[in-house]
Each structure stands twice: as C-alpha cells, then as structure tokens.
C-alpha cells in the first residue's frame, strides 16, 4: 500500500518542481528584455551614426607579498621592438581590413560625455537588435588622477556588474639594487613624486571624426610643472589611430613623464598605480587584445566578476627619449588598515629605463559581450546568440539531465 503512495507523491513533487521552474523562468526572460536600452543618457551626445556628418568641437610600499614580475630583461631592445612595432602595425592594418563594414557597424558604440575641468565621465553603449551593454569611465584629477570603470551588461546604469578603479599614486625614483630593472621591495627609493601633492591643469576635452568615419574623444591633463601628462583617447568603433588599432570597448591612455628631476645618477623611474576592486584580479602575460589579434606584446591585469571581465593592459615597451625600450612591471599586495580591518590593496609598479622623456601606452577596458558576436558577423546569426539562447541551452540541459537521470535509474532497476 505504501509504495504506490510514494510513487504518486514523487510524481506530484516532480510536477510541482516543473511548475515552479516554468513560472520562475518566464517572467525572468521578460524582465531581462525590459532592461534593454534603459541607459540614463548623460547629455552632450557627441556621437553620430558612423556615416553621418561630424561635429568637432602614499606610503612607501612595504611588506610586499604575492609579487609578480614580467617583461624582458635587457636594457635596450630597440631593434626587436621596432620590428615588433612594424609587425603590430601590419597586424593592425590586417585587422582593420578584416572587419568589414557590416561587422564594424555591429561594434559601433554610442558615446556620451559629461564633466567639468576636474572630472569627466564617458559612457559608451553598444546596442544590436535585442542585445545591449554599456560601460562608463570616470576620470578625475582630484585628489589624484584616477580612472573608474563600470560595466553594465544590460545597459542599465543601476545594474553595474563589474567595477574597478585605477589610481595613479606617484612616480618613484629608485636604485635598482638587485639589478632586475624593476621596482621591488629590495630596491632603495631615492625620491618620489606624489600625485596627490601636485596641481593638475583643467582637463581638456575634444571630439573629432576621423576620415574613416569613426568618432574619437580625447581628454588630457598634466601637472602644473609639466613633469607628468596623461592623454586619453576612446573611439566609437575599431579604428587605426597613429598606427594603433583601438577597440571601441577600451580607452587608450598615454602616460608621459618629462624632465623628471633625478636626484642621483644610475637610478630609474617607476609609476605606481593602485587597483581598487572587489572582484578577482589576475595577471596575464597575454592581454585580451592580443588574444583577439588587436595588439601584440602586451601585459594585462584582468579584473573578473562571475560572468564579466575588465582589464588594465600596457605595452611591454615604452618610448624612452625617442627609442623603444622594454618596461618591467611588478604587481604586489600590501595590507592597509581600512574600515573593515586590514584590507589588501593591489599595486602595479611599471618601471621604465632611465630617460628624459618617457611615453607609455596603457589601456583600460572591458570584454564587451559584443565581442562574442564579432566573429559571427551576420545579424541573423547574431540573433541566435542572445539571452534566449542561454535560456534554451538551460532548458535543453535540464531535459538531458532528466533523461540521463531516469536512464540511470531504469538501468539500475533492470540489473
């Protein structure tokens, strides 16, 4: 008598489960769809469609741990670097040609920019059929230069899924005691140039349309004594700018150090950056751009949440007094007393060979979901890879799992 009752209750439980799953899943999909294109819009729309007319308009690091170092050894590798640059340029050309007009249209992002002399925010939104995403980069010079990146996979400003901040702390002049060409715990600090003690000029902002049709936004600022300058550039689509391929989901940055007052001979400089994030941080010797053929010879710090990824990457070479030389980077963690007790703060130290003028090109950006669709290149195919596809995959997986589970039970009963 008991066995049929158990079987009946089992069937009822199974039925209830499927009703719950069905009732939960349907509004979930509907809700997700409602978010599309809900970005707040920050005014000052500097964009036009691609073919339209344009408008111009702290403390010293101590107790390092978890240290990672990269970069080539050897002081002057200008020949090989020139070669790399040429290869890079060729690759850039190929990539640019590789993206047809239709594919470039699929990557087009709408940019908005707002701000004042001390702070600027750029919002870049991608939308194609039912898919959308957006990221915002806030740049401020108060109290020290910092770049904050927020990624919103639904385009909705209230739904930030990835967030990190890069703070420029200081320039360090150091004696490389262990002769590894990079700034680390065993080196002696000779002098520092803390950015929070410097006056930065008002941020200059401009936007222009290139002959190839892409809109670019440029921002720049420098210290009052001209020692340190930051130039930033972001585009609304893939574009070749000064022979560099720039992806629309990233901002290219130039750090320029000029006429630094060295206190000693045989010292070199390092730029110390702080990374603030609650997400996972990993160091990659190959950046996202490299993996996708957009760049070569880069190193990156990737910041990943459960499903999304952002990066701060930099070229392994810098222009030192007109010639390309390799840079060395170290990443280390340091314990600081914070609100929640001892908090680990991650620092990146980019060490440059000694020189009067140092120009280095890092990038900050996100892995936009638009890249997952990039290789498809056909709008009909792109439609297939949407949230609905994820939903469908999940349902198919559940059905397969049920069949497999029941199959195992049946086989077990027969044996």
């Amino acid at each position: 008598m008991k066995r049929p009752n158990n079987q009946r209750s089992g069937l009822i439980a199974l039925l209830i489960f499927f009703i719950i799953v069905a009732s939960i899943s349907t509004p979930v999909i509907a809700q997700d769809g409602q978010h599309h294109g809900e970005g707040p819009g920050y005014g000052n729309d500097i964009n036009n469609p691609p073919n339209s007319e344009s408008n111009n308009s702290p403390n010293e690091p101590s107790g390092f741990d978890n240290q990672h170092n990269w970069g080539k050894t050897g002081e002057n590798q200008s020949d090989s670097n020139h070669e790399q640059q040429n290869q890079y340029q060729k690759q850039g050309d190929q990539n640019d040609k590789g993206y047809g007009q239709q594919q470039k249209r699929h990557q087009y992002r709408k940019m908005n920019c707002t701000g004042d002399q001390k702070q600027y925010r750029i919002r870049s939104q991608w939308k194609l059929n039912n898919s959308t995403d957006a990221f915002e980069i806030d740049f401020t010079t108060n109290p020290e230069p910092s770049l904050t990146l927020n990624y919103m996979p639904t385009g909705n400003a209230s739904n930030i899924q990835l967030n990190f901040k890069i703070i420029l702390k200081k320039i360090v002049e150091f004696s490389d005691l262990n002769n590894n060409k990079r700034y680390d715990y065993s080196d002696v600090v000779v002098s520092t140039y803390a950015f929070n003690l410097q006056n930065f000029t008002d941020i200059t902002y401009s936007n222009e349309t290139l002959s190839s049709g892409e809109n670019i936004v440029r921002m720049a600022t420098k210290t009052a004594d001209d020692v340190f300058s930051i130039d930033m550039l972001i585009s609304d689509n893939f574009t070749l700018f000064n022979n560099l391929l720039i992806s629309p989901s990233e901002m290219k940055i130039d750090f320029i150090i000029q006429n630094y007052l060295y206190m000693k001979n045989n010292t070199q400089l390092a730029l110390l950056l702080e990374v603030n994030t609650n997400h996972y941080l990993t160091i990659e010797e190959e950046s996202f751009d490299e993996k996708n053929g957009f760049a070569t010879n880069e190193t990156a710090v990737n910041i990943s949440s459960m499903h999304y990824c952002g990066f701060f990457s930099w070229l392994n070479t810098a222009c030192i007094d007109g010639s390309n030389k390799s840079v060395q980077a170290s990443v280390f963690e340091e314990g600081h007393l914070g609100i929640k007790g001892i908090e680990n703060v991650t620092y990146i130290a980019i060490s440059y060979p000694r020189g009067t003028e140092i120009i280095h090109d890092p990038k900050i950006g996100v892995v936009s979901q638009s890249f997952a669709l990039l290789s498809l290149g056909d709008s009909n195919l792109i439609n297939l890879v949407t949230e609905f596809n994820v939903y469908l995959t999940y349902i198919i997986s559940c059905v397969l799992a049920i069949l497999l589970f029941l199959g195992i039970i049946i086989i077990r009963k027969r044996l």
Binding site: S25, V28, H307, A372, V385, I402, I409
Partner: protein, 92 residues
Amino acid sequence: MLNGILESAIIYGFLTIFSFGMWVISIFSYQKSRNKKILFVNIVFLLFLLKGVLLSLSIFLTDLQEFLSISLFAVFDLLILFLLFVAVLKKQ
C-alpha cells in the same frame, strides 16, 4: 552575458536536475528505512538543489549576481560537509 555563460547554463542545469532527483530518491529512501543517516543525506541533496536553483537564477537575473558571492557558496559547501560528516559518524 555570453562570457562562458552557455557552459554555466549546461552545468547549472545538470546540477539542479541531479540534485533534485537525488533529493526525491533520498526522501523515499528515508520513508522506507527511517534511517537518520539518510535524513542528513537528504538535507545535503536539498542544499545542492538550493545551490543549483540559485546558480540557475543567477544566469537570468543579473541583479541576483550581486548577492551570490563565492563566500556564500563556500558556506553552502561547509554546511554540506558538516552534514555529511554527521551522517558518516552518526550511529544507527
């Protein structure tokens, strides 16, 4: 959204269905045997089911992802481990 999410959808689907199936089987098994060990195992499968449902929902409800951290799932794992520990050590 598509950064490895299709793979996650497959894994979460299997996790949810298998844990649900095992939970149902363990209920029947407990009703049949009244063995307290199986009761703990039953709760273990229920926790796996809950974890599977939360992970599955996180694919579609992006807002939920803010609340689902590795620490939360580590708590789930700890509870599961503790219950299995009790189930193994418990006398008949």
